[in-house]
Symmetry: D2
Subunit: 361 residues, 4 copies
Amino acid sequence: MTAIAALPEQNATRRTERIPVAVLGATGSVGQRFIQLLEHHPWFRLHEVVASERSAGKTYAAAADWRLETLLPGDAGTLTVKNLGDELESRLLFSGLDSSVAGEAEDDYANRGCAVISNSRNHRMDADVPLLIPEINADHLDAIEEQKKHRAGYIVTNPNCSVIGLAMALAPLERAFGVEAVHVTTMQAISGAGYAGVASYAILDNVIPFIGGGEEDKIETEPRKILGKWNGRFDDAPMTISAQVNRTPVIDGHLMTISAKLRERVSIDNVRAAIEAFTGEPQRLGLPSAPKRPLHYIDAPDRPQPRLDRDREHGMSVSVGRLRPCPLLDLRMVALVHNTVRGAAGAAILNAELLEARGLL
Amino acid sequence: MTAIAALPEQNATRRTERIPVAVLGATGSVGQRFIQLLEHHPWFRLHEVVASERSAGKTYAAAADWRLETLLPGDAGTLTVKNLGDELESRLLFSGLDSSVAGEAEDDYANRGCAVISNSRNHRMDADVPLLIPEINADHLDAIEEQKKHRAGYIVTNPNCSVIGLAMALAPLERAFGVEAVHVTTMQAISGAGYAGVASYAILDNVIPFIGGGEEDKIETEPRKILGKWNGRFDDAPMTISAQVNRTPVIDGHLMTISAKLRERVSIDNVRAAIEAFTGEPQRLGLPSAPKRPLHYIDAPDRPQPRLDRDREHGMSVSVGRLRPCPLLDLRMVALVHNTVRGAAGAAILNAELLEARGLL
Amino acid sequence: MTAIAALPEQNATRRTERIPVAVLGATGSVGQRFIQLLEHHPWFRLHEVVASERSAGKTYAAAADWRLETLLPGDAGTLTVKNLGDELESRLLFSGLDSSVAGEAEDDYANRGCAVISNSRNHRMDADVPLLIPEINADHLDAIEEQKKHRAGYIVTNPNCSVIGLAMALAPLERAFGVEAVHVTTMQAISGAGYAGVASYAILDNVIPFIGGGEEDKIETEPRKILGKWNGRFDDAPMTISAQVNRTPVIDGHLMTISAKLRERVSIDNVRAAIEAFTGEPQRLGLPSAPKRPLHYIDAPDRPQPRLDRDREHGMSVSVGRLRPCPLLDLRMVALVHNTVRGAAGAAILNAELLEARGLL
Amino acid sequence: MTAIAALPEQNATRRTERIPVAVLGATGSVGQRFIQLLEHHPWFRLHEVVASERSAGKTYAAAADWRLETLLPGDAGTLTVKNLGDELESRLLFSGLDSSVAGEAEDDYANRGCAVISNSRNHRMDADVPLLIPEINADHLDAIEEQKKHRAGYIVTNPNCSVIGLAMALAPLERAFGVEAVHVTTMQAISGAGYAGVASYAILDNVIPFIGGGEEDKIETEPRKILGKWNGRFDDAPMTISAQVNRTPVIDGHLMTISAKLRERVSIDNVRAAIEAFTGEPQRLGLPSAPKRPLHYIDAPDRPQPRLDRDREHGMSVSVGRLRPCPLLDLRMVALVHNTVRGAAGAAILNAELLEARGLL
């Protein structure tokens, strides 16, 4: 059993009437993670699975090439896969769709009145779509009102997997002191590319200093929206970010070295105190998937490390360590995020929990 | 056969009277690499092997736990290991001594009149010891005169394995435009820590954001001496460097992401031209271990990569790629150095070749 | 959180008065696993930690270089480490001692009246010491009577990590049809060698066809005792085993290919039915650490696999797959055991649970 | 530079008029290896490259996604890719075609009068096609006469990559003592599956006890043909082989544990002497790609190992070690073959060299 499978049980008791949900892109790697995380969810119940025409009509067990360490939940396996575009009974949809189809399909379902909670990149930078990390910018949900002016439902997105780690590590600094500039080099896990995304012949005994799909661009732009403000429109946080990305032979867990320049002169001790005190809406509301502490500061000189620290709080916490001065900017640190849990499906589920707690579903 | 074993044969014909040399710390991982690289050297002939008391008196074959892919050279295997401190017949010594003993032992042999070509860190920052990369600062050899004032022989050192990659990548920029500030994150191979330095349980499916022995400090200071000037004393290059280091599950090859701020405004094309035109004394002199091109610029968007590029020119070239603007400083790039060849024993041997070509042996 | 940490909570409720236990060799890798598994144990309470003179007198937190993914249990961290040989308050001792000291120390404590539950190899083949796998040979505990004739306490051992996987896979075949001959090739995880046992430079991009400490000999002899009978003395099962062992770059989980010749002609279907029906005392008694099914037969053509299947039932189940005829012997199959859980500390704890359930503590 | 690139230069001087050759399936992983090995070949000159319709008409540099450590040979890069089925100028064809198309295409070119030297599996077991390992069964080339009765050209194949290692290790035993039964478990490298054949997410921190494409069946049947006799038809060697295969996280090099039963009682020393004395036609003829010793017996208790031993004699030698008695059959040993050199393209080239030396081209 992986750590995350038991996730929702810790914080909340099971409701008698759970909300039926659909997973779009259910056979892919993010889709499978959604189905794993929803198995014991106290508020949500997997009701429909949706995939491409090739899978439609089959049982989910037959259509999905299940790759996770936990067993395929029996209930999920017997569901018949629906075709993307079909009318759905669920009003709450989790999208793990490939970006080649997510843009249109998510718009379509939102127009039909659904709440689409998406992990795909297509709508993240839309002018009226929240790019949500509940601990950081819960107030960005106000943008849903803007969407409601032109359609029955709405879309809420979560950031890129690396961005969640970076934005979480920067959030307490931005809140307390302001962040002016950031240098980040990522060392990313292979699972970020999906099951067949990285050939073993490419990555064994190797590091690849490149990740496709505009990874560096996402890391340089998404945090500015996340850490920015909603005032009827999104005002980006005025920080400059420079990102260099690498793929490493690690299963799960994106590690990153960060240097940052703050807007105030402040001691390292004060920065650390801000990181350790960081908390947000999910913690206040006791959301089922919320970690007790969204950021774990680790004291050891050689941590965080992907294999040792990625599963903290069921993979929903970001770990930070090695906070120290930078000869060039103000401070340096190392951060780690579980890229397929907090950095993808777990993030979307936490987003949906916040929507439910706010009465927006 | 590894690439490097054939190294010296390409550039120079074998001399009839080769110079007898000793290797200090001969049983360690750097010592073994020295012995491998010297096997077919056209100018130098392995004459003595020196190690700690535990190995002294044994044959080298019995004392060394040989770990390289090539076979232990037969001639080397039959040598009797001498005790560190023993009087030696060789006047040219290669030192791969552990830093716990290198400081004193190298001083001692230099005082006795030997030329000590050291890979150890102890004397790198000494006021009269060249920290030599022949392509960059061959003129630093003038510092030997300063040493000769107080002892019969002298010490010449090569930089830390990561520093060689970084300094080589920066050298054409410093020469042409001046470098003001550098941000570097390294992803280093396990061989940098010696044979038993990194436990497999520590590094498999993992990255460790820390390397002991003051690695970050070396990367922030050594390049300033290397790229600086000798005017009777060493004047450091006036650049600021910020380093963050990581250990990755890679056998050989230190990869690094670099951001740099130049003293002049210059186009990326001009920077690239400077990198591609870079050459130095070893190339002009046709030294046996000199690569034809000390820097290889690779055009592919995902290169250099350790496994694919570390062996270029028998591991003696540094590879550079992904040159592009930086939103924060001026430019970004990726560099790769074979840490145990160009970054260690191969560097020391090239240093000795320069000394010989200059008539300093 | 790893799977195994939550292990005991599934099967049994916590007793108000838990039995105080000591861990011998507490700072080593098996010792750490003992402490992890005991954290929430419903029957046993960690009371004393014992290590070598070097650690004695320190707190456990200071003495142990904690290497597991779960955090060091707070209660354990504050215990003061006792010196091996000291008088202990606990009467139940778990031994993860190194074989260089285990022989004498375990005898000593058993003579003083303690129940010593050992993972070390020293006493496994003793004429009156059970080599226990509770699902297979619970009746071997009768040998304790023999020990009691000459000392106040007793020793019970568990087998070598690979042997547990092999013996579990063979047990239903031996019971139902008799096993005459076995060919086994193991592909073992690096954790079997302890934290620093396998250098990353030795195993990355590699397989090593050798494991020291008499590994092949253990695999060829221990199963014969385990599957044999106690009739006042141990009569070995009359089977011949040929073992070839390999170390692979896998964190946890020993995989093995097995060919076996049976004493009866029987269909593959019948063999499979015997494997799937296999159960034993721990299941009947509902012991806290007992897996529901000691053997999991997996239908997929490419399973079991270490990373996907090692954690089944918190690492306490052995997985079997690819059962098919053998052109040479009768049948072939693949088996997998979590070497540090079911194959080491978890095995010892299950042994102690059986002793407690039998009233032997 | 990899070891193999320089391969042909060691044994033979370059001919003034080299034979023009074509490579079928030139863009695939075996095809690329052919082109690498042919770069400096003294007898053969790459003249045409052939691939599927998708690549036809492009330059080879544009069509091939070059993945080897050495640079794409410039001459090869400028060739225009021909379409499979096109009329070719070359009469000697190396085939690295995928088995989905190899069967028909190779027949077709052989019918047109070409000598087709194939690494594909389709025709290996044909009644008149040699399954050639020149050290073992050079006389099987007589079967070409049989082919010539019904077509203008002919096909010669080399065995599966694992089979070459196994058959080479068994050949001296079969010759000297007769082999009755063999048990083999392979631990195979990822490169055996082609560039994208094994996803990193599937194999990192893992071993997979399965390889598709009938791998076990090939290992159980091909050696019997290879070690058998040609008497107007192929008579298989009367040995029984049981194979179990595994994929391991190793780049190159198939390792295997072998147990064998001989037809004569013989000492281990005699078996070893037979292995060390083994030689064949390629050595007698001094073929350009022939290793000096086709089998290397290594004395160390933990060898051969893939990373340390795969490149012996440019990857053309098979390494053997750990020869010792077997409690079940007669003897046990470990063998290693470089699967993409001696086990694939290098094997085919050696086959062509033998044909040329015999005047059959």
